[in-house]
Symmetry: D2
């Protein structure tokens, strides 16, 4: 269980979102409010796009905690981006703290983060890996369920160099969960899996808040899409603004106490953000019943 | 503000004290009970003596948190010692997290740890350093008040190769605080300094629980001297035992909930443990009054 | 390509072998003599047995170079052992420098090191992993060919808790190479693989010097079994000694210039050391011919 | 003794200079050509200016070697700058490898690097520190002669927020060496000190190639100011170009074998680069004679 944050909007300093909010992600690295255990100190990572340099994102990861990392502090005070991901990790039991297990994971233009746990992952790891083509099988460097889930996503996505719409990325994200749930169901596991995933190609973002057992509460997830994010005299908030200056923040926790800024993503829902910063929320209908998994397509309801 | 632990007694595995108690030091690295802020994740260190190898202790330090360090886990499961120190750090504001700032600090046969903060340290740092002979001036590698205090202690101690009794080491520890308080008083600072120090030569241990403002509560400190420390079937406690099998544990927090095992060190008191594992507690009479510091010798009262 | 060292004999300080010899392993971490590229600075590891504490070895690994690691320096000056492994790594291209890729690898009572490279490893990785039972499949934490080869060894060995003789361990080591060669042959690869492996259970050691293409020179490997290893006044050598005080050192390079101390392991030979410190060298007859691999058992020649 | 590189010119990707040249700085981290010992693997650092974000530079430092650091690799592939410094370190004996000892050192708008050693530094450290005002005394975090020399420079420079010309910065750099030499002369030391320093405020650069004993060869230093630096199809060179597209590279070693690209800085000379990329070289007349140091001002000759 971890905490993460996604940003898309006008270019801003990473520190404006990572350090300056009252309940910043850096604060959440040791004092998160909506996890039972407040600590997320098992390393961290950031990934950001600078369109003028490269279509692929730059990532910086470390096994030390986010709150005391000087390189992170300095990078955040100097790097500007109009699209970035950040993640503070709480390693699941048995998972090593090493750079290869740090989120966000990167492959080509894509970034991927996970807040959650795939129950019984060791029991599905083998068939998951076997399902992968060599080009993905051999890129896996760590041992996390999260990185393996990313490989499943990339496999379902097809050619990563083709452009994909926000809807397509969201649909593939749902299929990824569906696939993971099918494998898990085959193991007869009844323990709930938590899949708060976020993925981006630098243009579109898709994120889900999902738990496989509908009687459980998934990990927390919020978003804000009200206006331009601004920090003025120590107060960070979303200001009303002209069209074209809007920003979207997706975060495990609300970054400030201004509740009107934040919308809670409903359980088992998908949130997508397209290039024009339009957001859309859709119900994910996937349910594990014993060894059977039922699903419905994202757009099959209307 | 940090947490620490000292052990002297029959040889035991480090993990028996570092990992197995209910409120172990490793647990205190993220969930300490008697600090307002429970986190002590800014690196750690251990130092242990193995008489058969060397009179000097071996130290292992790291800037990563204690709770996820695999080297610490493995060393603790394999290293036995009859005298060791361990420390989990919460870096004071402005103090870097680097190995040179990790406790315990080592010099020759001595180990030194600190849980606290010297208020206004940057204002006394210069005169403190000037008071040191070259042999100590040039051994300082980090920037902490703690390491500098150790240099003051060593300077007051004199020849580190001569044997010193527990009483002498305790007396020098009090003089160290006295000296630090005098320098602080010269700066007209009125903020309280917290000096929970522990020091050992591998044979004797001295530790103090001290705050310069008597209206404040010093950082917590306990000791246990009741018997042999044992872990049996998951339960770790101090067992009644034959003479010669006793052990002493000094710790920032009680390691278990068996309160009868633990004695709270009274505020502004010194605790000393000699080679025969006899313990003695004495009042430290040092008081800062404006720019004046009053003291009384350890044994001067009666 | 890396450098390594194995020791078995009377208990000694690790630093006597790691730091004090003229061509010590620490020196080899940046100035090795018998590799074209002298640098082995991509992390390191040590593993040692202390029979009185545990039948399993303690390991200490780090991603920083051996030559400047202060924890290694201090541990080596304080830890004594009668059986230990040490390794300085030169990461193969594409292999990450992280703790999970550091040698020696440990599993139960066993330690494993590799100096070399399995050519085309990414092409055999999948079938190698599929051959493993879950208990081994899920213990793999890194991405090296070396750690995967260890899993193959452990699988061929069977129950790791049963005692195995030096001969048996040597035989399983040969079968491991044989199995790796068969998989490689199936890929039609003609590039040579280098397999200098060393393995121990704390009692017996087996090591091989092997290259799959007999026209190539395998990585260097030596051993010394002449007497007790001693460092006197800066001179480290193997002294004549009474029976029962002998020691065996196996090393990628001769540790001193006293050539009479060292025997070169012949190409494609196995060296075994049993509990009584008796050494035996045997030819490994494994040859890759296109997609066919021929072998002969260690003792099958009469 | 280390290796470093300075760049000023049209904005380019850091990797174009750090990784792509035949004798790149990353290659020099393990295979430098103009040092007796080719290894510079004791950590590294980069500092770069992005005028649109901040007048202060961003720095990224690490204690791991430059050649295998993935964060450096990724940052270099994504960060563009028109002025940056980079340094690969070979720690002097007794100097710890920790982030606080990594170059470049940063203070406000300034970056500072050193390739060399101040002989007998421990003997002048105390008086050097005493000469510093509190604002500089308390910013020193490490133990290197290099960082201390930077503090001397900043003290001589005066208000760091005032603009200073390249000439002024160069003059202060010479005065810094002069001051260090005077202190060293007082210790009666006769061993040579090596002072290849580089300093920048993001607009101007000053660098010196200096050894205190004129019979010795100072550490190597080159610069190139012939045109725009370009990498085309694997060939990196300085191309003829229009005015206003010129670039200047200052480097411990020539980055390619095209000798006409490079000018060797003469021993005990200062090189300055101003905002218009004009370069100027001047003789530094400082000589240590016993306990006396003679100097002449930068512009006193003409």
């Amino acid at each position: 269980m971890c905490r993460f944050l996604c940003y898309k909007g006008p270019e801003l300093l990473l520190s404006d979102l990572l350090y300056r909010p009252k309940n910043s992600l850096i604060l959440q690295s040791y004092k998160s409010r909506e996890r039972k255990e407040p600590l997320n100190g098992d390393g961290f990572g950031i990934g950001w796009y600078t369109a003028q340099s490269s279509p692929t994102p730059c990532t910086f990861t470390s096994i030390t905690p986010a709150w005391n990392n000087q390189n992170l502090r300095r990078l955040s005070d100097h790097v500007k981006s109009s699209c970035f991901f950040a993640h503070v990790r709480a390693a699941s039991p048995g998972m090593r703290v090493c750079e290869t297990n740090c989120h966000p994971f990167q492959n080509g233009r894509y970034l991927w983060m996970h807040n959650g746990i795939i129950e019984g992952f060791s029991q599905i790891k083998r068939r998951l890996r076997e399902s992968l083509p060599d080009r993905l099988y051999n890129t896996i460097e760590g041992t996390t369920d999260s990185e393996h889930a990313f490989a499943v996503f990339l496999n379902l996505l097809g050619d990563p160099d083709l452009p994909h719409s926000a809807n397509e990325i969201g649909q593939v994200l749902i299929e990824t969960v569906h696939q993971l749930e099918r494998w898990t169901a085959e193991t007869k596991s009844t323990a709930p899996s938590y899949y708060n995933f976020a993925v981006t190609d630098g243009h579109n973002i898709a994120a889900i808040r999902y738990v496989s057992d509908p009687t459980m509460e998934p990990a927390s997830l919020y978003y804000s899409a009200g206006g331009k994010y601004q920090c003025v005299e120590g107060e960070c908030q979303f200001a009303h603004c002209h069209l074209g200056e809007r920003s979207v923040v997706i975060a495990s926790e609300r970054l400030n106490e201004n509740d009107s800024d934040w919308i809670r993503v409903a359980p088992n829902h998908l949130l997508i953000v397209n290039e024009e910063l339009e957001t859309r929320v859709a119900l994910m209908e996937i349910e594990r019943h014993g060894s059977r998994v039922e699903t419905s397509s994202l757009y099959g309801r209307g």
